[in-house]
Amino acid sequence: MDLTPTASQTVGPYFHLGCTNNHAVSCIAGPDAKGERVRLICRVLDGDGVRVDDAMIEIWQADSEGNYNTPTDAQGKGSDPDCAGFGRMATDANGKCFFETIKPGRVPGIKGRSQAPHFNVSVFARGILKRLTTRIYFADDPANQECPILALVPEERRATLLARPDRGNPGDWFFEVHLCGKDETVFFDV
């Protein structure tokens, strides 16, 4: 049998039916989860700067101590049961979606260097043939300077991976995904 991975196809315009009408997840970490509360606000824009109102964003993150809530986390430290770590939402008419969560801790990286706090992100939409994967880091976090993954990104493009705090609403962090165009977000080959 051919074991080449099955080809990806777009989610199309009607993914809500199977993925988010009844199975959206906006709460990644419940109110009892340890750590700094974060409301993550994402907005998706296309190459013309037009808001994308039919995208789906999925988030995968560690708990406040850098442990993933899954049996495949080989650190063996256990994880915060109130931080499931997974969220997914469809964007609304403004191209936005929201997640209630906590700031993730630092997870082991490469060459003994731990990673800065980050969200792992998948973006799906009509017109995207294969999901796009990116990361969201926190602007002005000193750990960003040491992150071995951020270091792989050309310096002039790192800012595309930063969520920015909303000074008027403490705990709110805003992240924009630019699918293409002059502010194109960095996407990774995972």
Binding site: F15, K111, A125, L129, F187, V190
Partner: protein
């Protein structure tokens, strides 16, 4: 890259910069334990979600989910969504003037078993027109979404039916450059899965990329 101008929506939605290679860390080799406790026993049967039976050709879609080492992927969530037999989605954005079916929503979920097998009972979806180009029609298809064990193994794809004349004209199907890879998105009619006097059977196996359980240590 995934730019395929014949599928118009890709033009403003496809990155042009090269993807940055990401060595696998704990973030990529782990993945959510999502949906495992939330799948009801009847979620895999799309013909039994309403008081009456949906119209259309009843089918069984069955297959095995493997990783790229040939190992079965057990207990992973498989989600599907599709149009009804007339080619209409239960979705407010679908304005194709084909009838809705009050007995068909078109969404299902299942978990793979210990050997990686999943099974759905549904009706064969209809083809439908779309606005991509003049006289554009999507071949009959079922959308599939799978998680696998890791962030890196996530896959969304579409399953097609054998002998569909529309596939040759469909830019979404044709966007896959490799002929063999395209053919593997076409399910196979299977007499073993077919239930006598009840439903036709189609086989659709899926290969997820490996999860590389050991993170890159450099």
């Amino acid at each position: 890259m995934s730019l395929y101008p014949a599928y118009r929506a890709t033009v403003q939605r496809t990155p042009r910069q090269p993807l940055i290679f990401l060595p696998h860390t704990l973030s990529e080799v782990t993945g959510p334990v999502y949906g495992r406790n939330a799948v009801a026993a009847t979620d895999h049967d799309l013909t039994r979600q309403h008081p009456g039976e949906p119209l259309g050709e009843r089918i069984i879609v069955k297959g095995q989910v493997l990783d790229d080492g040939g190992r079965p992927v057990p207990e992973t969530l498989v989600e599907i969504w599709q149009a009804n037999a007339a080619g209409r989605y239960f979705h407010q954005k679908d304005d194709h003037p084909a009838p809705m079916d009050p007995n068909f929503t078109g969404a299902g979920r299942a978990l793979t078993d210990a050997n990686g097998f999943y099974e759905f009972v549904t009706i064969k979806p209809g083809a439908y027109p779309w606005g991509n180009h003049e006289n554009a029609w999507r071949p009959a298809h079922i959308h599939f979404s799978l998680f696998g064990p890791a962030f890196a193994t996530r896959l969304v794809t579409q399953m097609y039916f054998p002998g569909d004349p529309l596939s040759a004209y469909d830019p979404i199907f044709q966007s896959i450059p490799d002929e063999r890879a395209r053919q593997r998105l076409i399910s196979k009619f299977d007499l073993e899965i077919t239930q006598p006097a009840w439903a036709l059977g189609f086989r659709f196996d899926i290969v997820l990329r490996g999860s590389e359980a050991t993170p890159f240590e450099g």
